[in-house]
Point group: C2
Chain length 199, copies 2
Amino acid sequence: MMGGGDVERLIQLLSRLPGLGPRSARRAALTLLRAPQTRLIPLAQAMEQAAHSVRTCSVCGTLDSSDPCSICADPSRDHSLICVVETVGDLWALERSRLHPGTYQVLGGVLSALSGIGPEDLNTASLLARVSSGEVREVILALGATVEGASTAHWLQEKLAAHDVAITRVGHGVPIGGALDVLDDGTLAAALSARRPAQ
Amino acid sequence: MMGGGDVERLIQLLSRLPGLGPRSARRAALTLLRAPQTRLIPLAQAMEQAAHSVRTCSVCGTLDSSDPCSICADPSRDHSLICVVETVGDLWALERSRLHPGTYQVLGGVLSALSGIGPEDLNTASLLARVSSGEVREVILALGATVEGASTAHWLQEKLAAHDVAITRVGHGVPIGGALDVLDDGTLAAALSARRPAQ
Ligand SMILES: [Zn+2]
Ligand SMILES: [Zn+2]
């Protein structure tokens, strides 16, 4: 028994978070318990608040405290340019980069026979609705450089082919600033096949 | 903006936990937000519950949902044997090992001129009270093998010298199963000076 049932339960739930093992869950619990007013209660309240406010955007599928989300509701974004990503985490990564001026479509996964994820499991209805409206000029497929990502991109490309919309894919290759000797063969192959004339 | 203010705030508070950087805080937030009913709300409630129930044991200084704590209140523990540790985390480590049949005293730190921690900052009053009662036969000093740990042990030893109680220190040296070549010089020195005739 460490600190009674309430402490044990807190550690147990914390240790289920990705990135926290039992050891760091205990350290996190101690940090929180040592400062109940300034750390533990504020975090608990932020969680309750998020649990009650956060929902899935009915347009793009991201998580947000409003629906439509703050991106879909933003008139300064380019709504004719949709970037298709696998997860909300991918959307967040692109938002941090501030490189994408358009909106998003979060599929919620990629086609995978192994994981039993089929076309009906992916969030594509609202993408097709938006493309069918004729107001979309380009769909960027920003899926992972995996077999599943590639086959999902291919499947989406066919699905959208009947519409008057440009379909592009993000490039794959050597990350900027990255050394070649730490890359896996798949990335090296993608980098080689995406080669262009040197300038 | 990632998911509106509520999501941002959740990520920000999570990223302040030891062991979680911004990247793993985002992953943790996503994991929680994807399962509000089964993950986010239970964790929030466990935190609220712990914030309201957990207090510092008035006998030994550990954190527990009861006072005296479950260890101090346990009649099957040996109350004549007190193990002095620096932190609640150290107490938890010893409890997990199930090696200590007695009770504890959590100092809450060690003497450190650098950190401005003096004798008055350490939780020793209840240790002296227990020792003065005459019901304690041994105090085990289980402090870190650091300069501060050693000087705190020395200071406690002097403080307890007037009482009829055995004072012992945990041994320092090569961890069981540990290789010598990864140990720092201090541990090697401790291991050498603690050498005994081979059997
Ligand atoms: Zn949206
Ligand atoms: Zn206690």
